[in-house]
Symmetry: C2
Subunit: 338 residues, 2 copies
């Protein structure tokens, strides 16, 4: 069990100064090609591994971008995170990933913990946060990007879409197909802020069409599982048997609802139409396929990543003007509402 090698060890063995070794490990530093090769060879020989923490400490640039998503186990957020990570990689930035369990207080805790690591930027999911979270982020003096929402009073930058507005298209589509008695399933708790926004959008859209938005079914706190979607559908069928279409807070609950219909012998879309949200894989594979909204999760991640790179490495002049990028969600009509 010997001590881990440092640059000093490499420098000694190579007969050069530590600075020269440091340069050999950089891309554009001025070291003769001979020396560089020799040094890297010796480093490999000694099993030397560059110490990012030491470099980070000296330069005060960690290369970290903190990313907080509600849950690891969600394909939408995973897609956003993967695309974000990919966009950051060429700039030498690394994602520090945390999850909040859909709870703004847990989010606050993680933000506080992450800020101690001195990330160069931070990406949040959603536009609702505790006052302390906002204050901590304001003080941190790093780019803050809120995603998956279009908050009215953003902390900093925004890459997202309006969850409420997406419901206008969807309700419009269902109404155009002649259906009038529409229900909304989910979005009834404080925890599910995006779901609640969608529900508000549903109510607004129904009123816009002169319809009564009184078929609102609860499902409880997120994450909302397929099972919960099935249970809620069962209640809907019991309490509002004449419903003509149901919009679910996500594709997962929509799929659960779909299976419940299969079990109950309710035909989709003949007896009832079903729509979801998120364009999860399952929406395109299940039978019938699901009508859904594709919020382009990867596009959000890529866009946020590019924004961060341009803010941190692009030498932007107007660092002070917050950027607001709107990603347009897309209605995708499937067999479940044909």
């Amino acid at each position: 069990m010997q001590r881990i090698a440092t640059m000093k060890d490499v420098a000694q063995k190579a007969g050069v100064s530590v600075m020269t070794v440091s340069r050999a490990f950089k891309q554009h530093a001025s070291v003769s090609e001979d020396t560089r090769k020799r040094i890297l060879g010796i480093a490999e020989e000694l099993g030397y591994v560059f110490d990012s923490n030491a470099a980070t400490f000296r330069t005060q640039k960690t290369g970290f971008v903190a990313v907080i998503i509600p849950s690891l186990n969600n394909a939408n957020f995973a897609d956003t995170t993967a695309a974000l990570s990919t966009a950051l990689k060429p700039a030498g930035l690394q994602v520090l990933l945390g999850y909040s369990n859909y709870d703004v207080h847990e989010e606050e805790e993680i933000v506080e913990q992450f800020l101690r690591r001195r990330p160069e930027a931070i990406v949040l999911t959603g536009g609702r946060h505790t006052g302390r979270t906002r204050e901590l982020l304001r003080r941190a003096q790093i780019p803050v990007i809120e995603t998956w929402d279009l908050p009215e009073d953003p902390i900093g930058h925004v890459v997202g879409f309006s969850n409420a507005t997406t419901m206008h298209d969807l309700v419009g589509h269902l109404v155009a197909s002649g259906r009038k008695r529409l229900a909304f399933l989910g979005g009834d708790t404080n925890g599910d802020t995006r779901g609640a926004d969608r529900r508000r959008g549903f109510v607004a859209a129904m009123k816009y069409h002169g319809l009564s938005p009184d078929r609102l079914i609860s499902v409880g706190d997120p994450p909302i599982s397929m099972r919960e979607g099935a249970d809620a559908m069962s209640r809907l069928l019991r309490d509002h048997a004449d419903t003509e279409a149901v919009i679910c807070v996500s594709d997962l609950s929509a799929f659960g609802a779909l299976t419940e219909c299969a079990r109950k012998g309710v035909r989709v879309p003949e007896d009832i139409a079903i729509a979801g949200f998120g364009a999860y894989d399952i929406s395109a594979v299940c039978f019938p396929t699901l009508t859904t909204i594709d919020p382009h999760p990867a596009e959000i991640g890529r866009s946020a990543g590019e924004l961060i790179v341009s803010l941190l490495r692009g030498g932007r002049s107007g660092k002070n003007d917050p950027v607001r990028i709107e990603i347009a969600p897309q209605l995708s009509v499937g067999g479940s509402s044909a």
Copy 2:
């Protein structure tokens, strides 16, 4: 845009030494309760945020545990990661998460990148890695834990199960139901090492029962989507119409296969039984429910996390004996093979 406050600033304002401030931020350090409160108050007032990087640098303890999974977008690995993260948290350890895209060379790259951050331990998914990966990890002199497999020649510790062996139970169950012409869907590429192990296990189990393991359907490289499962099923039905049961490399492909049967009018389980792997949510919700194997992903994560904590913080004496923890996967019989 003012300079970020350091401990020195807090110390000056509080009229104490930096060391006292440092102690005030620790749990068990000897500072009078009065002083501590006063210091923390001043810190808050100044907007001081503890600098983990500096502390890390001095103590040479980063508090990072590197975790590499094949893909962010996979509920099984997400469950393992979440449970791991939860188990590490009380010990003050934080997950540094990366993904390999199911590619051992990408894995090698991430391992190399992560080691520069000096994680205190590293968790890999699977038991197959490049020679260089193994060498890098050996040199790093930190606990290495391979998961989701039981490699014959592990690098260090292991928390997992034998993918091949799980197929014995499953084949046994299907054979016991009177089915003889079984097919396996997936596991045909180098990329899908765990899938390939399952396929090998399938072949071995078939031979054990004196049956011919010649119905092997390709699906390509992971991640294997529902869609690919459906496509593969379509080929199976075309080429081996008399197949009585099919085992799919995962629940996602199994579900795709299930939907394909629905489209083709093939009844499940009457005409053909279907089984998956992974006990994903969908297996319990779809209709019919899927027969599957639950590898207890969260249990793997929890167990790996506890192992790491005991290795790093528990002051284990026998640090040198590699630990091998076997998690027993569980057969879950659903309607798809009734």
